[in-house]
């Protein structure tokens, strides 16, 4: 067997590759690694964010959180959001994709409209929904009044018992487009033969879906679930812009509490302790997904 000799252009490539990578990797280190490291350091200190003095306080920040009822609410809300984000936009997105895919006419229009809210800034979504939820003149209360169901009207964003669910409805409207488009693209790429074969064998629509379509859609499902959980852990804008965590901290999530403790109250150490906590929860949820995605990309490029 002939000995492998690199082609002339492969010699010296390593140095060129290193030059290409220097800037992005450098930025990554300065803006991702360093702040994460610094957050870990700050979590064991007391600091107001401006003064040169940072006092070591050991684990006091973490211990304070354990006994803080606001933190308990935020954490519980974050877990609710995680469950909600993984189920609702993914399930609704799948439903919408199956519906749109079954249309003979208007497929393009359905795709355009169903995906549209996902393009909007969360702040704008918040502004619009605050108006829809307005307790006396807002659309939702008015429509309930018109159809004689006025007794169902609530103070949608002002009632501590329901505010998180109101936020979830607006978040679902905003984010369903993402899962929809992932499933819709997945459906378009399904091998036609399998569906034909199922039909010829006399499978019912339900059988075709559970035995053929859904298993073949698994890659789309993995993406929709994974990205939804990333979004759930990063949830901030919609909550911040709609209620800022209120009323009485009832709609707080870890991110909004952290931001308020840091930049509202200037307790950087305590906020960093919340951040450390968020990172661990997020890593536990998201890491398996990232490994899965990277493997798939690797397999795909090895097939070339």
């Amino acid at each position: 067997m002939a000995k492998y000799t690199p082609a002339p252009w492969q010699r010296g490539s390593t140095r060129v590759y290193a030059l290409f990578l220097a800037l992005p990797v450098g930025m990554f280190c300065v803006f991702y690694l360093y702040p994460v490291f610094e957050t870990f350091v700050l979590a064991f200190q007391r600091w107001d964010g401006l003064s040169p003095v940072r006092t070591d306080v050991g684990t006091a920040n973490f211990l304070a959180l354990l006994g803080d009822s606001r933190f308990h609410t935020s954490l519980a809300n974050n877990l609710r959001w995680l469950v909600f984000y993984v189920l609702a936009p993914t399930g609704l997105g799948l439903g919408l994709a199956l519906l749109a895919n079954s249309l003979v006419r208007g497929k393009g229009l359905a795709k355009f409209v169903y995906f549209l809210p996902y393009t909007l800034p969360p702040v704008a979504v918040a502004a619009i929904w605050r108006w829809l939820y307005e307790p006396s003149a807002g659309l939702i209360t008015r429509v309930l009044d018109e159809v004689g169901l006025g007794f169902l009207a609530q103070n949608w964003l002002g009632d501590t018992a329901i505010v998180t669910y109101s936020l979830m409805v607006s978040a679902a409207w905003w984010s369903v487009g993402f899962s929809f488009i992932v499933f819709f693209a997945g459906l378009q790429n399904l091998p036609r033969e399998c569906l034909e074969a199922a039909r010829i064998d006399g499978a019912t629509a339900w059988q075709t879906f559970t035995k053929v379509t859904f298993p073949l859609l698994w890659p789309s499902t993995a993406v929709a679930l994974g990205m939804s959980s990333v979004d759930a852990m990063r949830l901030f804008d919609i909550v911040w812009a709609m209620t800022a965590g209120g009323p009485a901290y009832s709609s707080d999530v870890l991110a909004t509490q952290m931001f308020d403790v840091a930049f509202g109250r200037l307790k950087m150490g305590e906020a960093s302790a919340i951040a450390v906590f968020m990172l661990f929860v997020s890593a536990a949820v998201v890491l398996p997904f990232i490994i899965y995605m990277a493997r798939r990309v690797e397999e795909a490029s090895n097939d070339n």
Binding site: F28, G49, T119, M227, F259, A271
Partner: protein, 271 residues
Amino acid sequence: MTTEQSASWLRHGFALAIGLLMAIPILVAINTSLKTPAEVLDVLSLPASPTFANYAEAWNRLGATFANSLMITVPGVALSVLVGAIAAYPLAQIRGRTGFVIYMFLLTGMLVPYQIVQIPLFSLMRNLGLYNSIPGMWLVHVAYGVPICTFFMRNFFASVPRSMFEAAMLDGCGHAQYFYKVLLPASGSGLAALSVIQSRAIWNDLLFAMTLTSNDSARPVTVALNALTSGFVVQHGTLMAATIITIGPILLAYLLFQRAFVAGVLGGSSK
């Protein structure tokens, strides 16, 4: 009519109803933005004669920050896409362990919730003298875009036939020359799709802007809209006009480049 036909009619009707339901929030916002303060109180009515007074008032409050958003977004998108492509090139070329490890290293950025870096980032940007400045926002958006842009462009480059690279090398091209003169011009669709999703990410950003800007010299329109929304002094008509102004450019981009938008969102999340 057969059952199959009526089922099809039913599906189309249902799809249309859901489409309308999903469009309602935006339609209500547009409707409200064209009303006088008295008309706003009846959300279900149409304006007697549409007024643009709300837009004039909203523009007074947001105009400066709208310009900031453009100044932040356009260069921010161009630079982040370029840096992503630069990182992606060697990672798509190197076969084997080293490339994969560096690639995974950059991808771990995707699991970092942006909120947790805000405190050190705030100090870092102040020390660099880039707090409350538009170039500072470029830098931040480029840096935090590295994982997603690298991921996206690496996948795109991996689909470019390797024979193109070998032909260029045989013709005596260097790596840099191949990258700028051959690969980038041949990657138009990928660059366009990534540009569109980066535009969405940067234009829509609220968090980084809240941490890193403090007044109208650098503050983007999202922060200004948030301030209007959470204040209680502004009319709903004006607020909805401000909202429509804020979503205008991104809506326009979606109308014009729907295909690139969808390709970008799909490409940013999967192979």
